[in-house]
């Protein structure tokens, strides 16, 4: 069972409307790279050109902020859920 990456509505459009993407990898960074390779329009919204996370897009691995569990280097296991939370400012 692969890792599931969940996108907010605002980013799903860049992945052809898909909200939940099954992806492969052994670390969060691998999973993000796998998704980025399959959805080129989404790629620049997930990580910067050097492949590092942005300070305005937070990733949660099983509801834990990845910055506190190893960042993109954090290990993932089958069945894990990765949720992407971009900064939004509307009010």
């Amino acid at each position: 069972m692969p890792v599931t990456l969940e996108l907010p509505v605002v980013l799903a459009k860049l992945a052809g409307g898909t909200r939940r993407i099954a992806a492969e990898g052994t670390t969060v960074g691998d999973v993000v790279a796998d998704v980025a390779a399959r959805y080129p329009d989404l790629a620049p919204r997930l990580r910067d050109s050097a492949g590092a996370p942005y300070p305005f897009v937070t990733f949660y691995l099983n509801d834990e902020d990845i910055r506190f569990v190893g960042g993109f280097g954090a290990a993932v296991a089958d069945g894990d859920e990765l949720v992407i939370v971009p900064a939004i400012a509307g009010g």
Binding site: P8, V9, V10, R19, D41, Y54, P55, F56, T58, Y60, D63, E64, D65, R67, F68, V83, V85, P86, A87, I88, A89, G90, G91
Partner: protein, 393 residues
């Protein structure tokens, strides 16, 4: 999960009049509120920053609940496009300051509430002074610079920041800047570069979504004042109105956070600069784009000028209104058509208001095009200056 840390309402609890006892009877028979709780609400002072989509339901429910003093910061006037979601205002108040229509509506809903209006933008110069007067802040602003300003001012004054944010169908809510909890900077260290995340005016928002999120903010504010339940401190609530799913993720205080962690941030900063809206001293300034006004465009079209007019909006916007002679090339696919555009003719780009077309114009300049024009004010200004029969959105 964090149990509610009751915020200190450090003033004597007022007695309720018989009218108030009757009005709040459904609260008074809740053991979790009761007479003491209602008196706490009566004593509480809540500052709402923004009387828009989020501020509307928050203000209405806080007023109905009997918050004694509601401060409102807003400098905008009611626009007809606000009424799809900003339920605090009404059609007959279009053109009036939002502060005035909000005060009228709150006064009608609950005359026991004192409304303190601040018809001014919240700035680094006034934020600390204003926020100090309140027990907590409800953030209903609509831009990143004010969100960071509200956050930092709340951290510096030690006032909880009841956060809500919306875009299209997505909503977020939490509570920042409590004594032990994380702040907004712990969640998002820095804002996105200008233009990456469109505003609701550019990207749209489901009208009822701020109703959901603003009501959650009001709920959390009331729980903080009463000291009941489990608040959103340490949790970020994610609202997906399209799938109707609520999800929560854990928020941690970042020990390296300059505001609430290391506390190296001792004073408010220039938030326009922090958000990249004004260049940092010494930074390279982007060359201005050549602009063409709608009237100039209309005159050139009338004269039979062979310019190329490209509309970079989305197909659903094209359906609402279009400028004669324009071709639709949504910005997302603009890069693919650059090679097909003529370099020996003037290329005029437009969108709704000029922001997206400026991005397309810069792509053309980067590709070596020299005859590139951005239509000033987009199709909205075309409707104002050239074709008043055109619908505006």
């Amino acid at each position: 999960m964090t149990a509610a840390a009751e915020i200190a309402v450090a003033r004597e609890l007022p007695e309720l009049t018989n009218d108030e006892v009757l009005r709040y009877s459904r609260h008074l028979i809740l053991p979790e509120v009761g007479l003491t709780g209602q008196r706490k609400l009566r004593a509480a002072r809540v500052l709402l920053v923004g009387a828009g989509g989020l501020g509307s339901p928050a203000a209405l429910y806080l007023a109905a609940a009997g918050i004694g003093t509601i401060g409102l910061v807003d400098f905008d006037v009611v626009d007809v496009t606000n009424l799809q979601r900003q339920v605090l205002h009404g059609t007959r108040w279009v053109g009036r300051p939002k502060i005035a229509s909000a005060a009228d509506r709150i006064g009608d809903l609950n005359p026991h509430v004192e409304v303190v209006p601040y018809e001014t933008p919240l700035t680094s110069a006034n934020a600390l002074e204003i926020i100090r007067e309140y027990d907590l802040v409800v953030d209903g602003t609509d831009n990143f610079q004010t969100r960071y300003l509200v956050n930092d001012a709340c951290v510096l004054t030690g006032k909880p920041n009841v956060y809500g944010s919306i875009f299209r169908f997505d909503g977020q809510a939490s509570i920042f800047a409590t004594a032990d909890g994380p702040c907004y900077r712990c969640l998002f260290k820095e804002p996105p570069p200008p233009g990456l995340v469109p505003s609701c005016a550019e990207g749209g928002v489901l009208g009822v979504l701020p109703g959901l999120v603003g009501t959650i903010q009001a709920t959390e504010a009331i729980k903080l004042i009463l000291g009941i339940g489990e608040t959103l401190v340490g949790r970020l609530l994610l609202v997906d109105a399209l799938a109707m799913r609520f999800r929560q993720v854990k928020l941690r205080k970042d020990p390296s956070c300059p505001a609430c962690g290391t506390r190296e941030l001792k004073t408010l900063i220039d938030y326009e600069q922090f958000c990249g809206l004004t260049p940092a001293p010494g930074a390279a300034v982007e060359a201005p784009l050549a602009e063409l006004s709608p009237r100039e465009l209309a005159a050139r079209q009338l004269a039979g000028d062979a310019l190329v007019l490209i509309d970079v909006r989305e197909p659903h916007e094209w359906e609402i209104a279009r400028i004669p002679g324009a071709q639709l090339v949504p910005l997302g696919g603009f890069g693919e058509v650059i090679a097909t555009l003529p370099r020996d003719r003037d290329v005029v780009l437009h969108c709704k208001g000029g922001v997206r077309s400026a991005k397309a114009a810069r792509q053309l300049l980067a590709a070596g095009f020299t005859r590139v024009w951005n239509l000033t004010g987009g199709i909205l200004q075309w409707a104002d200056d050239v074709d008043p029969t055109m619908p505006k959105y």
